[in-house]
């Protein structure tokens, strides 16, 4: 019997690399058009963004700081994607993670930052996972659509945080709805402090800190989890086929719960970076939309931890570059929101617009060869 036709419509590299890159280029072209339309010079803008975000250790410090956030939320979305769930609740989970971190840092006297970081990670993961637990449970047991419930939980999280900061955690006499500053002992070493001993001078002011390493570690752990463990096998199998999972004795309820809890925990972990590493206190809206950017990051990164890592750095660059634009030009920071929207649009929703012609092309090429 002859070897059957290769049924894949196109090679894997095209799917994993070519399509995202083309989508990204399209998004970039449209972004440039937007910049032109508001009467600015896109070349100039890109210049400013690049020097602002990558031109100094200071810029890198911010880029990596944001990237750390996005790695966590991107991984969160990616893990849920593997189980074919769309977790839009990263924002709320990260907010609650912040609450967990703040409690750990404020209410326990820590002797050293490393212990505090471990405990804060635990707190962040528990709170983030807890916030994902209800939507997960409702999806698993009641079939309530996770997208809607997680959106709702984002709003509810904002209200909870609001209540906690206004009525519970605000120090006596303080006017802002924010927690007290964390004690000096839980101060996390920044890249400046980490790199100084090995002779690299890194900007002192930039907030990138040791949690970057935690995020990179998380990328590895998620990779191993998804592709090297039984649980990952089950998550992927469930994500590909629910009836298949049932057949193989993989409990949909269990996988839905576990995948979402892991996802929530990862989103919650982000708080170790922004709350503990940067602000060193809990403020309203400390997540700054990173939960949503996680969606774009996971889509761009094709839900692979390495892809997520790269996409997070790209978005970190966009974020820091955008902040620079807002500082030095009259281009509002919202330009970044637009770019982010375009990336989600092209890599996510309009994926087929790029894919279909490419598939035709590869098909024609193959037929031409045969």
């Amino acid at each position: 019997m002859e070897r059957p036709l290769k049924m894949d419509k196109m090679p894997k590299w095209a799917d994993v690399v070519l399509i995202p890159v083309i989508s990204l280029i399209l998004a970039a072209i449209l972004s440039a058009l937007v910049i032109v339309a508001i009467g600015e010079d896109p070349v100039e803008a890109v210049n400013l963004m690049v020097t602002g975000a990558l031109g100094s250790t200071y810029g890198w410090g911010y880029t990596l700081y944001y990237a750390t956030n996005f790695m966590f939320t991107g991984l969160a979305v990616a893990v849920a994607f593997h189980a074919r769930m769309f977790n839009i609740g990263g924002e709320g989970q990260a907010m609650l993670g912040g609450l967990g971190v703040a409690m750990v840092c404020l209410y326990v006297p820590w002797p050293h930052w490393s212990l505090a970081l471990l405990a804060a990670c635990a707190g962040a993961m528990i709170f983030g996972a807890a916030w994902a637990a209800v939507p997960a449970y409702l999806q698993a047991k009641r079939g309530s659509h996770i997208v809607i419930t997680t959106i709702m939980f984002n709003f509810i999280a904002a209200a909870v945080l609001n209540y906690m900061l206004v009525n519970v955690m605000r120090p006596q006499g303080s006017m802002d709805p924010a927690s007290a500053r964390f004690p000096e002992a839980v101060h996390l070493p920044t890249l400046h402090e980490l790199l100084a001993p090995i002779g690299i001078s890194f900007s002192k002011a930039a907030p990138a800190n040791v949690t970057l390493l935690v995020a990179i570690l998380a990328c590895f752990v998620v990779w191993a989890l998804i592709w090297r463990t039984r649980l990952g096998y089950e998550i992927r199998a469930y994500g590909h086929s629910e009836t298949g999972a049932l057949y193989a004795g993989i409990s949909p309820v269990k996988i839905t719960m576990i995948a979402m809890l892991i996802s929530g925990a990862l989103a919650g972990l982000m708080a170790t970076n922004n709350v503990m590493g940067e602000a060193e206190r809990l403020v309203l809206n400390s997540t700054e939309g990173a939960g949503f950017i996680g969606i774009a990051v996971a889509l761009m990164g094709r839900s692979h931890p390495f892809g997520v890592f790269l996409a997070a750095i790209l978005f970190g660059f966009l974020y820091q570059g955008g902040a620079e634009l807002a500082l030095w030009t009259s281009i509002p920071r919202e330009l970044i929101v637009v770019i982010q929207a375009l990336v989600i649009l092209f890599t996510g929703a309009l994926d087929n617009m790029v894919r279909m012609p490419l598939e035709k092309m590869f098909l024609a090429m193959r037929k031409g060869k045969a």
Partner: protein, 509 residues
Amino acid sequence: MTVPAIELKGISKSFGPVQANKDISISVAPGTIHGIIGENGAGKSTLMSILYGFYKADKGEIWINGAKTEIPDSQAAIAAGIGMVFQHFKLVENFTVLENIILGAEDGGLLKPSLAKARKTLKELATEYELNVDPDAVIEEIGVGMQQRVEILKALYRQADILILDEPTGVLTPAEADQLFRILHRLKDEGKTIILITHKLREIMEATDTVSVMRRGQMTATVKTSETNPQHLAELMVGRKVLLQVDKVPAKVGAPVLEIENLHVTDEKGVERVKGINLEVRAGEILGIAGVAGNGQSELLEVLGGMRPGTGSIRLNGSPLALSGAGSDARARRDQHIAHVPEDRQREGLIMDFHAWENVAFGYHHDPAYQSGIFMNNAALRADTERKIEKFDVRPADGWLAAKNFSGGNQQKIVVAREIERNPDLLLVGQPTRGVDIGAIEFIHQQIVALRDQGKAVLLVSVELEEIFSLSDRIAVMFDGHIMGERLPHETDEKELGLLMAGVDGKAA
């Protein structure tokens, strides 16, 4: 010569890399019943869907009543007088019969007059063709036979002169099928042209005037029904001599392995699908379960395989198995040495995007042999896969290929290899050869018989009576959730089983 009602010229159609139709030409005379047969995936449905404007052909022409007709969509097909009853019905489940009938054929922008008119027309059609349906019944609450009537009425309401039926009897009992053929003959007598897709040779021989055979996307022959015979048609279908007899020695039946008592199963919608059955499968025998699709066999298999809960009691080698809650899932079943070749290999038995070697662990991924510490031992898994691929002659012998890139028969071989190689006490098999070509059928049948010869119990569910006959040591017939009776293969025939399958107790009759 009369002008053909339908003439297709050089129709080709690809779905991505799959060429479903290759340069097909066919001509159907008016006022005849024209059959189309072919294996699963031969391209029959695709061809008819092109005629009905559901798909667009890549190449080719359609001529209706002697005029070249463009059929870009179903609207055009309807306008050309074509009606089609699809293999999978196209009804809006929560609409009433009446609403489904007028959908797309309304008169004017408001519904009221359309509904009134349709109600009247429906009454006339009902008396004319014995097609009684309750116009106000909601589709999801009526049976499949009734739903099929709605589909036929839909076509007649649109005044179709050419009626295409795609495997209409798959869901019908023999009696219902007989009634359908009566209706078809009446329609034919009125001058309507009918195209009937089926892979049941008996139906072709009984009902059609001419028949076309498709294989691998190509039209291999068109012959007058009166000038051919089933054996010849079967050969045309699969492209070589057919041999459907399995060599097997008489069963050496041992102690009961599986005992089922008063088993009830209710589906997600709350409908009871298995209504208190009792069965026994012994060591060293193959129990075949025959029945028209949808009479509870699938649910039976799923309960035994741990895919859905049930009530009652089942015992394996004397010890009870859980039917719901903890210990009733598929993993527990496997731990109890029950293997399961599912009915739908693509949706259940395999993860189509996984590599073959990943699929070889599917369901057995907890096996200690596949673990190393907290990680999975992928190297061991791949080695195991290589062995199985070789033993079962899976082609191509490439463990890195994704499951979706194997042909149907080879996909099935992977599943069968995985399950049989576990050397289970009980093997559950559903539709083992659906969509599998004859060579693979032989191989798979041999494997099943070999397992039985090792003294293992096999429960086989199949809608193909031939398969049931050739494999089973004992046959049970299911109808409407009940076991209608048990027969030994050499003491019964297709006719008796057909009656049982229709719910008529052969002995009483």
